[in-house]
C-alpha cells in the first residue's frame, strides 16, 4: 500500500507536466515584481573588500571615479556608480568624477542630477565633489595624468578654472588620490586603470565592470585591485553592504537589488527542479534495478 503510493508520486515526478515548471517560473518572476521584493545578496569577498576600503578610509579621502561606459551598459554600470557615490558622500569623502569615454561624462552628469543634487544638496561643488568631464586620449590620458593632472584638466566640465576649486589643492598627479574607482564596460576601462595607474603608481584601484568583462579582471584581485563589482549582481551586493552599514539608505539605494529579485527567485526555482529531477532519477534507477 505504502509502496504503491510512493510509486505514484515517483511517476508523477518522472512524467512531470512541464506546464507546472512554466507556472512556477512565471510566479517566480511576477510575485517579486508585484511585491517589490528585494533580496539580500550577501556581498562576496571581492565586493566586501571594495566596500571596506571605502569605509575604512578616514573622512575626507580623495576618490577619483572614472565613468568608462555608454548607454548600452547603463543597467549594469549606473547602479554601481550610484552606490559608490552615495557611500563616499555618506562617509564624507571627496569625490572627483571623470570619464575616458565621451558617453561616460553624460552618465556622470546624470548621476549628479539624480543623486547628488537631490539627496545631498548640502554637499558643495568644488569642496565635496567635482565633475572634471571627459578628455580624449584613452590610456594615454591616464599616462599623462600620472605626471600632471592639472595640465590635462585646466578647467572642470563647465569651464571654470581648476585652481578655483579648493578640493583640487594638493592634487598634482594621480598619486595624490587615495583611491581610484573605475567603472568600465570595455576598452579603455578598468583594466587600463590597473595597468597604467594602479601598477606603475602603486595607487589602490577598484571599481566595477559588466558581467561579461568581469572574468577577465578577476585575476587582478587582490594584488592589483582592492575589489571589483561584476555586473548587476556585483552592484546588488554592494548595495546590500551599503544598506547594512547605512540603514537610512535602504529606501533609496536598491536599484540593482530590485532587478535582482526576480532573478534570485527564478534561479532558485530552476535549482529546485534540477534537484527534484535528480532525486527522481535516482529513485527511478533504483526501481528499474529492483525489477
Amino acid at each position: 500500500m505504502a509502496n504503491g503510493n510512493k510509486t505514484t508520486l515517483l511517476d508523477r515526478f518522472s512524467n512531470l507536466d512541464r506546464r507546472v515548471i512554466f507556472l512556477l517560473i512565471a510566479l517566480a518572476v511576477i510575485i517579486p515584481l508585484i511585491v517589490n521584493y528585494t533580496t539580500y545578496i550577501p556581498p562576496s569577498l571581492i565586493v566586501q573588500t571594495l566596500f571596506d576600503k571605502v569605509e575604512d578610509m578616514p573622512p575626507g579621502a580623495k576618490i577619483l571615479i572614472s565613468f568608462d561606459y555608454g548607454p548600452s551598459t547603463v543597467p549594469e554600470n549606473q547602479p554601481m556608480a550610484n552606490a559608490l557615490v552615495r557611500h563616499a558622500l555618506e562617509k564624507g569623502h571627496r569625490v572627483y568624477l571623470m570619464a575616458l569615454w565621451p558617453t561616460g561624462a553624460r552618465q556622470s552628469q546624470q548621476l549628479i542630477e539624480e543623486i547628488i543634487d537631490v539627496e545631498y544638496p548640502d554637499k558643495v561643488e568644488g569642496e565635496d565633489w567635482i565633475h572634471l568631464g571627459y578628455k580624449a586620449g584613452n590610456q594615454g590620458l591616464i599616462n599623462t595624468l600620472m605626471s600632471d593632472v592639472k595640465a590635462m584638466y585646466t578647467t572642470d566640465i563647465a569651464g571654470t578654472a581648476i585652481d578655483e576649486f579648493p578640493m583640487m589643492d594638493g592634487i598634482n598627479t594621480l598619486r595624490d588620490f587615495d583611491l581610484i574607482l573605475a567603472l568600465g564596460s570595455g576598452f579603455p576601462g578598468t583594466k587600463e586603470w590597473v595597468q597604467f595607474a594602479g601598477d606603475p603608481g602603486n595607487i589602490p584601484v577598484g571599481g566595477g565592470t559588466t558581467a561579461v568583462m568581469a572574468p577577465l579582471l578577476f585575476p587582478y584581485y587582490p594584488k592589483q585591485m582592492v575589489g571589483l563589482m561584476g555586473g548587476l549582481q556585483g552592484a546588488a551586493e554592494y548595495e546590500a553592504a551599503l544598506i547594512e552599514r547605512y540603514p537610512q539608505l535602504s529606501e533609496r539605494s536598491r536599484i540593482a537589488s530590485t532587478s535582482m529579485g526576480p532573478q534570485v527567485t527564478a534561479h532558485l526555482v530552476i535549482i529546485a527542479f534540477i534537484i527534484v529531477g535528480n532525486i527522481t532519477f535516482i529513485f527511478e534507477r533504483r526501481r528499474s534495478r529492483k525489477y
Binding site: R18, G140, N143, T144, S147, D148, A151, T154
Partner: protein, 404 residues
C-alpha cells in the same frame, strides 16, 4: 610585390612661427621663459600596407622627456599642405610617445608636418618634415603571417584531397549524431509521420547554412526512397532556392522525381522570432517524428528544441554557433558540435575527396596543437631562465600568430 617607396624628405630647417598659433594655456604668463628642447629626427612617410588611408610620423624624444628637465607633458602635431604654409594643430599625444598615425588625409596630396614639445608654461621650437604622400600599397605586409598560415592550411587540405583520389583508403571515425540521421528517418517512416528540417535562420552567405543544406540533400534522398513526407520551412529566400535545387536533385537521384514538389521547401519570414513562432506552430500541429536543426542558430535554438521535445520527436541538431551549442546539447538527442557539422556532408556522402579534406583539417589541428605547445613551452622557459634568446623566440612565435 614591393612597396612603391615614398620619397621622404627630412627638413632640418626649423620653422619659427608666431607663438599665438599654438593656443597658449589661458593663464600662463607669456613673459615667463620656459626652455624645452624639441624632439628630433621627425620622419613623415606613407603608412605601409594600407589603402592610402594614412601617413605615419616617427620622431625621437625630446631630451627633456624622461631626462634633462623632464618637463615635457605632451607633443603637439601640426600639418600643412605647403612647406611655408600655415601649420594647423591636428592632434596631441602624451609624452613618451614616438609615433603617430594621421588618418585625416587625402590620397595623393603632399603634406608637411611639424612637431613641438609642450611643457607647463611653454613649448619648444617646431621640428618639421615632409612632404609625404599617401599611396595605395600592393601587399599587406602586416598580414604576411596570415598568408603563410593560410597557405599551410590550403596545402594540407588540397594535399589530402589529392591523396584520396590516388586510391588510398582513409579512416574516418564514427560521428554519433550522423549515425542517428538514418535511424530518425526510419522511425518517421514507421510511424507514418513527417520529418522537419530546419537549416538555421541565416542566409546562404553563411557557410553553416551551406553545410546544413548539404546534409538536407542526404536526408531528402532517404525520404524519397522511403516515401516519407519532408517539410523544410526556411527564413531566407535564397536558402529556399538553394534548398529546392538540393531536394529536387536528391529526389531525382533516388529515382522518385514524381514525389518532389516545390512546396516542401517554403519561405516563412526573415524575422527570427516570427519564423520560430511559425515553426513551433508547424511542430505542434503536424507532429513530425524527427526534427533536424542543422545550420546557424541564435537564441531560437532552445525554443525549437524544447517544442520539438514536447511532441516527442527524435531531435538531431548541429551548429557552429558556440553560444547555442549548450542548449542543443541539453535539449536534443544528438548534437553535431561545431566542426562536426562541417564534417557531416563528407561523412554522409562517402565521397573520397570530401574525406580527404577532413584529413586535411586534422593536419590543421595538429599544426594548432603543435604551436600552442611550442608557444607555452617557450614562454614558460623564457620566464624561468630569463634568457633573452628564448624570449625573442617566444616573441617571434607570438607575433607570427598576431592579427593586428
Amino acid at each position: 610585390m614591393r612597396n612603391r617607396t615614398v620619397i621622404t624628405v627630412l627638413i632640418a630647417a626649423t620653422f619659427f612661427l608666431p607663438k599665438a598659433l599654438w593656443c597658449q594655456p589661458p593663464d600662463s604668463s607669456v613673459t615667463e621663459q620656459v626652455f624645452v628642447s624639441p624632439p628630433s629626427g621627425l620622419n613623415a612617410f606613407d603608412t605601409p600596407s594600407d589603402h592610402a588611408q594614412s601617413l605615419s610620423l616617427e620622431w625621437e624624444l625630446s631630451p627633456d622627456d624622461g631626462g634633462g628637465a623632464d618637463n615635457v607633458t605632451w607633443y603637439r602635431i601640426l600639418r600643412s599642405e605647403s612647406a611655408e604654409g600655415e601649420f594647423t594643430v591636428i592632434d596631441e599625444v602624451p609624452a613618451g610617445e614616438t609615433e603617430y598615425t594621421d588618418r585625416g588625409i587625402t590620397e595623393g596630396t603632399s603634406y608637411y608636418y611639424g612637431i613641438v614639445a609642450v611643457a607647463p608654461g611653454g613649448m619648444s621650437e617646431m621640428v618639421g618634415a615632409g612632404p609625404a604622400v599617401a599611396v595605395q600599397n600592393w601587399f599587406s605586409r602586416d598580414r604576411a603571417n596570415l598568408m603563410v598560415i593560410a597557405i599551410i592550411l590550403v596545402f594540407a587540405i588540397t594535399y589530402y584531397i589529392y591523396l584520396s583520389t590516388t586510391g588510398r583508403e582513409l579512416y574516418i571515425r564514427k560521428i554519433a549524431g550522423l549515425e542517428a540521421v538514418n535511424e530518425a528517418v526510419g522511425r518517421a517512416t514507421e510511424m507514418g509521420r513527417p520529418i522537419l528540417f530546419v537549416p538555421g535562420i541565416q542566409d546562404m552567405d553563411n557557410v553553416q547554412t551551406v553545410a546544413g543544406v548539404a546534409i538536407l540533400g542526404h536526408i531528402a534522398q532517404r525520404t524519397a526512397t522511403y516515401e516519407t513526407q519532408l517539410e523544410v520551412p526556411v527564413s531566407r529566400s535564397i536558402t529556399m532556392s538553394v534548398g529546392r535545387e538540393t531536394v529536387k536533385q536528391a529526389y531525382l537521384e533516388a529515382g522518385r522525381p514524381d514525389l518532389y514538389n516545390d512546396d516542401m521547401v517554403h519561405y516563412i519570414t526573415d524575422e527570427q522570432f516570427g519564423y520560430v513562432a511559425a515553426v513551433d506552430g508547424i511542430m505542434v500541429r503536424e507532429k513530425p517524428a524527427a526534427c533536424f536543426y542543422l545550420g546557424a542558430f541564435f537564441a531560437e535554438s532552445l525554443i525549437l528544441a524544447e517544442t520539438g521535445n514536447s511532441i516527442g520527436a527524435i531531435q538531431v541538431a548541429g551548429t557552429a554557433m558556440p553560444t547555442q551549442l549548450p542548449f542543443f546539447v541539453a535539449a536534443c538527442d544528438y548534437t553535431l558540435i561545431g566542426e562536426e557539422l562541417f564534417a557531416a556532408s563528407a561523412y554522409l556522402t562517402e565521397d573520397k575527396k570530401m574525406k580527404g579534406s577532413l584529413k586535411g583539417q586534422d593536419a590543421g589541428k595538429a599544426v594548432a596543437m603543435l604551436f600552442v605547445l611550442l608557444g607555452v613551452g617557450l614562454g614558460t622557459l623564457a620566464v624561468i631562465t630569463g634568457s633573452g634568446a628564448v624570449q625573442s623566440a617566444y616573441d617571434f612565435i607570438l607575433s607570427f600568430f598576431s592579427v593586428n
